[in-house]
Amino acid sequence: MVEVQEVGKEFHGRWVLRDVSFTVKEGEILGFLGPNGAGKTTTMRIITGYLPPSVGRVKVAGYDVTENPLEVKKRIGYLPESPPIYRELTVKEYLKFVMEIKDVPRRERKERLSEVIEYCGLKDVYGRLVGNLSRGYRQRVALAQALISNPDLLILDEPTSGLDAVQIAEVRSLIRSLKGKHTVILSTHILPEVTATCDRVIIISNGKIVAEDTLEGLEARLRPSKKVEIKVARYRDKVCEEISKLPSVISVVPSRNDAILVEYPQSLDLREDIARVIVNLGAGLLELKPVSMTLEEVFLQLVTEEEAGKA
């Protein structure tokens, strides 16, 4: 569906994207993960034809974006980072205008409109001015705009930004329900979002792809080991020493707030053994909790992995 080949983008002498290549299969949901400023939006804009690539080529449904932009634009729905809305129009007028410029055939318009209104939960605000809607509703209107031409390819730039927890859950389930019907590329800087919606993930940092994998593959790669954090009342050093004697413990590190971080392989669960050691010592176990990896750690790990690989 989408082929991105060695795409690079230069802005005023600075390369914000370098050598980005990937493909997206039909019906797949691809997540673009990266910190702000990593080049997610630029990549998406290039795929939509909004920005031309400095080098490389992009094909959507077999059409080259630079050579055949109109054919590509007929096939995509795009949700930009900030919802593209006309404040002065009502939701209905706005969506009708979008259908016109997206070249939705006249006889399908009525059906598409009611379908999308239903799908995005816009029934209650149908006749209201877009400018008077709340942030969450505006985001839904913007999503409706992307969906209304029933496009083969949907490109969603941070679809859940600015929404509250309930709305985020709604949008995520909406995206999941698109699976199989549309090809979706979505970007986010929130790790759980990818876990919740995507089949495959591309991690991008500093304009370069640092990892591309399925969710399971990525998880396995990122987390060869588990970590637990322990707090004890007494004998902290003694506890460290004893735990490190346990079989298959990878490392024991005293960390901030008098806690101890214990690392062991992903396949095992050593929590029981660790607890026993502490109880036997009479050190007074206060806390024992698993530590999940934050996005920063994921990036750090991937980026350092890559640099180590280079050297």
Binding site: Y50, P52, L70, P84, L89, V98, I101, D103, Q145
Partner: protein, 253 residues
Amino acid sequence: MRMILSMFRKDLKIYLLSPLAYTIVGAFLLIVGYLYINSLAYYILQVSRWGGYGFNATKFLFYPLFQNVLFLLIFLVPVLTMRTFPEEEASGTFELLLTSPITEFQIVMGKFLASYFIYLITLAILLYIPITLRKAGELDIGLLISGYVGMLLAGAAFFAAGVFAASLTRRQATASMVSFALLLLLWFINWAASNLGTDYPVLGGILWRLAIFNRVRAFSEGVIDLRNVIFFVSLTVIFLYLSVMSLASRRWK
């Protein structure tokens, strides 16, 4: 064509929903009306003093009227066109337009026609002047039509220039300044032509041919000269073409 029409309808709707268009068009009509009443009073004075014989009333009243409309367009055009592209930029809808199967040409045409349509409405409202005058006596209809044709053509060129100015920038304030400057420059050409013409006949001759206000004068004197028609039509086309280019080049920056 359908795309141009969609764009036109959307923009026109936004014009008609915004207080800005009403305010500026209202002010425009008020000033034109005031100046018209002034010249009407002057006309009455003239007629009562010297009698109306051998006197083209239509020309006497409408010649200054058309000149005033043309001059006031320098203010009307920047306000009506400044929002065209900067507004799309500000509301993020530029991304929507440029990722939809609508071409830059269609966007420019739709926007130009919508702003020009507001001008057409304004001119239509101004028809109250000849209509009320008709009740008072005979008018030179040919002269009126020719004057209106001149207003339509010159207006098209002015609005195209405004659209072009707006396509150059991402900010409304800058857009209005640029189109104001552009229109002032057109005004200045006239002034330069008449001032430099005596000392530098060649330069004066060139400027004279570029001067817009002379050409409009011909129309308001009842002369529809094909050269003048072609001049305004080509000026309109050139500015619209430049707007399309400017939009297309924006993406390459």
